[in-house]
Point group: C2
Chain length 112, copies 2
């Protein structure tokens, strides 16, 4: 089972799954920004930021438009990213389910 669709989804997630890129998206969620502004906001080196932007561009998560010398980056998949950021940046409760409550769906069961 090597589902190309799942592989693409995983690649998209991977692109987001980095602290600097999460910070980047959080910043872009508040509005389009040029690279040097982003650099100041994030406090990473210019080449590093450029590489992170490239990773996000590859997955079509961000895009930019040119404004003279500047490139204003914006989020190219707002529905996905705003939901994703909203989700991940929140805390989520961890449940612990007792054995009695678990119905293992498979054919194998011992007791029960």
């Amino acid at each position: 089972m090597d589902d190309p669709d799942l592989r693409r989804k995983a690649e998209t997630l991977r692109a987001v799954a980095h602290p600097a890129r999460l910070a980047l998206l959080r910043a872009l969620a508040r509005g389009a920004r040029c690279v040097s502004d982003l650099q100041k906001i994030l406090g990473v080196s210019q080449p590093s930021l450029s590489q992170h932007l490239q990773a996000l561009r590859r997955e079509r998560i961000v895009d930019f438009c040119e404004d003279g010398n500047l490139r204003c980056y914006y989020i190219a998949r707002p529905t996905l990213i705003s939901a994703l950021c909203g989700l991940i940046l929140r805390e989520h409760k961890v449940v612990r389910r007792p054995p009695e409550e678990i119905r293992c769906e498979g054919r194998r069961r011992r007791r029960g």
Copy 2:
């Protein structure tokens, strides 16, 4: 800027961002399953599956309870994971914003 909170969030995302683990979670979303059932469903080798489960356990994304010989895995953060899977497994439209529409939030602007 090295935000430990963002780092943890990124680690959680990374744990999910793998095709086999996405398939795993999709399967578990339909109900708890023991390892050998998961193995049949996913078609990966037993050690490989075990390692993927370990990765998800480390992030408290899944947990298990023992049923004799079997370990029934279940999703330990249902709100996070169901939303995340729901999101990522859907297609999301890509927008392309024209320059006129972009207001770069920073202090730098050339024309406009």
